[in-house]
């Protein structure tokens, strides 16, 4: 196929992508976000599948069998396990306006400038080879398609090289759609849309190739595997076992797990470009499905290539493309080329944007801002940020190009992808640790990343250069640095028998994590670090009101803050942001001093533009900050913890309050009830008082008005008046007593009392009354003495009430009243039995109510106040005793009261 056709097709495809990107941005201007969908989000994540997947997987089957699958199983597992991790990262990045992995780590450890630089540098070093691999893939696929045996290219003749022009076009594309807004934390809708389309294209193209090979050239999957199985060399490749080693599989899977979030491009699409947090839920299964589909035909294509003798001289990496071409399907070949092209450029685009943001924000801008005289005009600052980002993009891509033309020509390419994975995996301890462990410090993070990187470099990168063959170099490989066997790059400390990747992974991660933990545990972070740690680890607690947990002490003038923001965002936009923020948080704008929250807000806004570390520098330049002491931060941290506890406490309190309210309502209800009862009681009392008063008045008037009354009659009336007066005063005393007991004003004057003595006293006092009625009153006294703690006078009153009641109710002339004392369990019981008419079962409880008798007596009205039993019950209650009646109608009744007895 001619150069021209391919180039024209490539350019048309690129123009198509331009169109899609432009369309998406155009729609966004009209408030329609085409990338606001979980499907697009998942497709953009599939930028994970690069040309390395597209061409390289097939190649790897030829050498390592099924081990390539580890690279895709890893992210699949990661999707399940890392969901909470990614969600947390997403939340943090949104609230802190973080725009890259370097920014993330730097922000976590106190918005530290040097940490940002380190991470950025390592990312660049780790990923330039990976980008260059994509460029190489484009070139080689181009060569396969055009039928040219690729000329051993030379950097000096770059102007003849198609890859160079592709690189230039990509630079333009990325600059156009990647640096439209100065705010790097803003979404690149156009780019994401084009990435999603590219993901679809590469999937369809690869599946098309697979279908063609499987069903066009062979009779289905079974056919290919059958034929391959006949050749022992091929059979091993698709059987799990001999080829892959356990350590190799494990390392590959773990590495790709980390890579799925730590690679700058993955971080870019899955975190920075994320539109809505809930898209993640769908993406965690869509993304693995994508990986599954794109991998179905890898092994069949690889086997088919090897089963085709004509392709003997072709690199296994090119089978996907070479097979259709060999059978003369040029159009299909072109489509497959476009698919591979998509895979390569989507990776280049996203990776470059992510890296350029990091390079610009962490390398260039801090230099720019820390040099004196940066307070330029609005336009020039704007320009310098955009230009620094554009410059970074150009430099990165050119570096990749140069790398591809020079170093890559000599180094083996097979595992470049995994080498890059290993590089970014070095951020894992600092990042994951920083997410969940508040004690992780900046020094720990720096040390761990540096240590990890050195080991990575020594065990993975260095050997690729050393294997070129000079005796001095192979000496290091065979006998270690300085001839020390323990320092052999592929067998550190004598750890032999692992593949290079697994070996490097083991040592770098082990020492990396160890360093992080040990250094962190032995160092203390400064105030800013502790504050950030608190924010990150407890992000879900802080996101609701990040402003309230602002710590900042110092003075800043509103004017300075305004002009600072205006410099980066333009006067209009910054004014809008400030006013809306002020309104939202009720910050008065009239004051000439800036509110601490306003300062924090502007820093966050600037972070989105220039990264947190630079933003901090800028804000510091216009504010007079007081040093925040560690104590203050600790206080704030403690306060936020206390806030949580207070919150818990509050919830508990509110529950208690609800309960208390219920109790109050109940109590109120009871009070109302009691009020009614009190009224009733008073009414009954007055009624009870009125009755003797009535007879007293009537009889006195009769005696007074009838002076001529017979002597005997008059005496009868007068004595009746005296009786009634006595009844009246007795009633008054009883009412007052009861009232005193019920109000709790009556105090018990307890002493140790011999109960027998008390009973004897009462029996003696009541004997005449009993005799008068012809009743027999007996007290069965014991030999042993029962001593009980009680109020002597009150218990005497109870005895008096009960015994006199009994006397009242026994039948005239044949009454039997017996009194017994007994001890049961921990009670001293006094039994007063009579042979009266008994108490009906239904009123057994009621008889202890006040004035019960007044309402419920039968024919003959009894004497007494109707308060005796109520008073007795009250007195016994006060002693924590019990009083009750046992009775059967006609068989008399037993009144029993008990007192605690130990």
């Amino acid at each position: 196929m001619s150069y021209l056709v391919i180039i024209i097709c490539g350019i048309i495809y690129l123009l198509l992508l331009f169109g899609i990107a432009y369309f998406a941005e155009y729609k966004l201007k009209h408030n329609i976000n085409v990338v606001n969908s979980p499907w697009v989000y998942a497709l953009s994540m599939s930028v994970y599948c690069t040309a390395w997947t597209y061409y390289g997987s097939v190649g790897r089957v030829g050498t390592q069998g099924m081990e390539f699958l580890g690279v895709y199983i890893g992210p699949t597992i990661a999707c399940t396990f890392f969901y909470p991790v990614v969600r947390k990262i997403l939340r943090i990045c949104k609230s802190q306006r973080i725009n890259s992995i370097a920014d993330f780590i730097a922000t976590r450890y106190g918005k530290n400038v040097s940490l940002g630089i380190i991470v950025t540098l390592f990312c660049v070093v780790g990923l330039i080879p990976y980008i260059s691999l994509q460029l190489k893939a484009i070139t080689s696929s181009f060569n396969v398609l055009s039928g040219n045996k690729g000329v051993e290219s030379n950097l000096l003749y770059f102007y003849k090289d198609i890859t160079f022009y592709i690189t230039l076009i990509l630079i333009c594309f990325i600059i156009l759609f990647g640096t439209r807004s100065v705010d790097a934390s803003e979404k690149h809708s156009g780019l994401v849309a084009s990435i999603a389309v590219e993901s679809i294209v590469k999937l369809i193209a690869f599946v098309a190739a697979g279908l063609f090979v499987t069903y066009g050239l062979f009779n289905g999957l079974g056919d290919i595997f059958e034929k391959a199985a006949q050749q022992p060399a091929l059979k091993d490749l698709f059987v799990f076992g001999n080829n892959g080693t356990f350590s190799g599989w494990t390392a590959t899977m773990l590495l790709s797990m980390f890579a799925a979030i730590l690679l700058p491009r993955q971080f870019q699409v899955s975190v920075v470009e994320n539109v809505q947090e809930q898209h993640l839920k769908k993406a965690i299964w869509l993304f693995p499905v994508y990986l599954l589909i794109i991998n179905i035909f890898v092994v069949p294509i690889a086997l088919a290539g090897m089963l085709t003798p004509a392709l003997g001289g072709v690199d296994a990496d090119s089978y996907v493309l070479a097979l259709p071409l060999h059978y003369g399907h040029n159009l299909l070949g072109l489509f497959i080329f476009i698919g591979g092209f998509s895979a390569a450029i989507s990776m280049i685009i996203v990776e470059t944007i992510a890296l350029s943001t990091m390079v610009s924000n962490h390398l260039f801008l801090p230099l720019l801002f820390s040099s004196p005289g940066t307070s330029g005009t609005e336009r020039s600052l704007f320009k310098s940020i955009i230009n620094s980002r554009r410059g970074s993009i150009t430099i990165l891509l050119l570096l990749s190009y140069v790398y591809e033309k020079t170093i890559a020509q000599h180094a083996s390419l097979v595992s470049i992808g995994l080498v890059s994975f290993s590089a970014v995996a070095q951020f894992a301890p600092a990042l994951l640790g920083g997410l969940y462990w508040k004690a992780g410090t900046r020094k720990g993070a720096v040390a761990s990343i540096v240590v990890g990187f050195c080991i990575w470099f020594y065990t993975l990168v260095l050997p690729t250069f050393l294997n070129s063959g000079s005796p001095a170099e192979s000496n290091i490989m065979l006998h270690g640095l300085f001839g020390c066997e323990l320092l052999r790059p592929y067998a550190l400390l004598g750890l032999d028998g692992m593949g290079p990747i697994a070996h490097s992974f083991f040592w770098s991660m082990f020492l990396n994590a160890l360093t992080y933990i040990v250094v962190s545990a032995n160092t203390k972070g400064n105030a800013q670090e502790i504050y950030q740690a608190e924010l990150f680890v407890d992000i879900f607690r802080h996101t609701n009101n990040p402003e309230q947990s602002t710590i900042w002490k110092g003075t800043a003038y509103m004017k300075d803050i305004r002009s600072l923001l205006a410099n980066f965002l333009g006067a209009d936009r910054s004014q809008k942001l400030i006013v809306s923020y002020a309104n939202r948080n009720k910050i008065p704008l009239e004051s000439s001093f800036a509110d601490a929250r306003m300062v924090a807000f502007s820093e966050r806004i600037l972070s989105g533009v220039i990264g947190s570390a630079s933003a901090r520098l800028m804000v510091r330049s216009v504010t007079k900050e007081e040093l925040i002491s560690i104590d203050q931060v600790l206080n704030i941290v403690k306060e936020s913890q206390q806030a949580l506890e207070v919150n818990k406490e509050l919830r508990k309190k509110s529950l208690e309050l609800t309960k208390a309210t219920e109790m109050l309502t109940a109590a109120n209800e009871q009070l109302k009830q009691m009020d009614i009862l009190k009224d009733e009681f008073l009414y009954t009392v007055t009624h009870e008082l009125r009755t003797p008063l009535t007879s007293i008045r009537a009889m006195s008037e009769i005696v007074f008005d009838n002076q001529d009354m017979e002597e005997e009659m008059r005496n009868h009336y007068l004595s009746s008046i005296v009786n009634e007066t006595e009844r009246l005063s007795h009633l008054i005393t009883q009412v007052l007593n009861l009232e005193r007991y019920e109000s709790g004003r009556q105090k018990l004057h307890t002493s140790v009392v011999n109960i027998d003595e008390l009973i004897w006293d009462v029996v003696h006092a009541l004997r005449p009354l009993s005799d008068e009625k012809g009743s027999e009153l007996t007290f069965y006294s014991h030999d042993s003495m029962y001593l009980v703690l009680c109020d002597k006078d009150l218990i005497k009153q109870v005895l008096y009430n009960l015994i006199s009641n009994a006397i009242k109710f026994v039948p005239e002339g044949r009454g039997l009243i017996t009194i017994k004392v007994r001890v049961e369990y921990e009670e001293l019981q006094v039994w007063i039995e009579d042979n009266g008419k008994g108490v009906p079962a239904e009123v057994k409880e009621l008889i202890f109510d006040k004035f019960f008798q007044a309402k419920n007596q039968t024919i003959q009205k009894p004497e007494g106040s109707g308060l005796g039993l109520a008073i007795s019950k009250k007195i016994i209650d006060m002693h924590n005793g019990r009083i009750w009646v046992e009775s059967a109608p006609g068989l008399g009744s037993k009144f029993i009261f008990s007192l605690p007895y130990t």
Binding site: Y683, T686, H687, R690, T691, P692, L693, T694, S695, I696, R697, A698, M699, E701, I702, D705, N706, S720, N723, E724, A854, K855, N856, Q857, T858, I859, Q860, K861
Partner: protein, 122 residues
């Protein structure tokens, strides 16, 4: 001679009322509770009844209600004599058809006067 029935569960009050009514020149009968009162009016119809309300067995209201519902009894003049003093209780007494409601304690002279005027005797 008018027939008067006096009903009260307090023996002293009953005794006093009996004395007073007899002194007024009436034929006086006594009942110590509601049951006795009902037994009595079912055999002999009095012209006037002095009726207590709070009694252990049958209360005065019920007796009054019974009297006013029974055709041959409904002309009996009912006078309540009660320690109940609440407005509602007094109203209830009048609603049941009582001619008079006198609160205890009462003035004996006043009672005599009222009873005489109700009976139309001088």
């Amino acid at each position: 001679m008018k027939k008067i029935l006096v009903v009260d569960d307090d023996p002293y009050i009953l005794m006093s009322l009996e004395f007073l009514m007899k002194k007024g020149g009436n034929n006086v009968m006594v009942a110590r509770n509601g049951t006795e009162a009902l037994d009595f009016i079912n055999s002999t119809v009095p012209d006037l009844i002095l009726l207590d309300i709070m009694m252990p067995d049958v209360d005065g209201y019920s007796i009054c209600e019974y009297i006013k519902k029974t055709p041959k009894l409904k002309d009996i003049i009912v006078v309540f004599l009660s320690a109940k003093t609440k407005e509602a209780d007094i109203q209830k007494g009048y609603d049941l058809g009582a001619a008079l409601f006198i609160s205890k304690p009462f003035s004996t002279r006043n009672l005599m006067k009222e009873v005489n005027s109700l009976l139309g005797t001088p």
